[in-house]
Homo-oligomer: 154 residues x 2
């Protein structure tokens, strides 16, 4: 990602649907500059504090949340913080519903096979792959009902 100047940053924030306040601009700027680094809210706060001594950690949290809501930025999938556990160690994927916050198992042998084959053909230098996972993010249309994913009969 190319570096963006303040006006470009401002514009993106506005386009996403938020007021371009000073705090939001510097938070977004920090995140763009940290491209590839996936900082935490705390880390963003520490980055900003020297040049913005009056910014508060609460604002950083709130700002990042707003950005995620307007799809200006994303949360990175992580097992690091590791809140949720699963006894099923077989390869399987997960569906995440943004509305209900549910994480639903999604077993799709064809998908696993496709990816296994794909990664078998990739040459990994300095990395030993132990597992892979796919996560689908989206929304249930009817929260009460089940999700069903099937092959389209072609």
């Amino acid at each position: 990602m190319q570096l963006l100047n303040r006006n470009e940053l401002r514009e993106r924030i506005v386009i996403s649907g938020l007021k371009a306040t000073q705090q939001r601009i510097v938070v977004y700027e920090a995140l763009v500059q940290q491209h590839g680094h996936h900082p935490t809210a705390e880390e963003v706060y520490q980055l900003l504090k020297p040049a913005n001594p009056s910014i508060s950690l609460g604002t950083v949290y709130k700002t990042l949340d707003s950005f995620v809501e307007t799809n200006l930025i994303r949360r990175v999938l992580s097992e690091e913080s590791g809140k949720r556990y699963d006894a099923n160690t077989m390869a399987h994927s997960h569906i995440y519903c943004s509305n209900t916050k549910e994480i639903i198992d999604y077993e799709d042998a064809e998908l696993e096979q496709l990816l296994t084959d794909f990664f078998r053909k990739r040459n990994m230098e300095n990395f030993e792959i132990k597992s892979f996972a796919v996560q689908l993010t989206g929304n249930k249309k009817e929260p009460g009902k089940q999700i069903r994913i099937s092959q389209v009969p072609k």
Copy 2:
């Protein structure tokens, strides 16, 4: 997953390399019974407390961590807990190194295309897919050096 009796649970714990204590057995049992539910440590604790009033939350945390370490269970990838943020909203995957805890961007147009095509052919009932992500988990062989993933010239 089929239900397991206490002896089967005990055996799996031992095979994974841990002493089969009473607490570990009931924690593992709870997790197996919650198949598909991905409970948090707190939730496991609440499930166990009625029948095991003396178990402590700290033990549940520690036990789950041990299980993850021996690969008896997994942590579920999650953006819910959402510690880390990324300004790059283009479709891209992440590589997670268990050793260094790094999350490294992995852009692979071919992989994205493969999955886009795949999901286009799937019929989703009651789910509107907004995005998907792949995460590779594994280890850097040489922590200092970069990872490089390339196509095998066939």
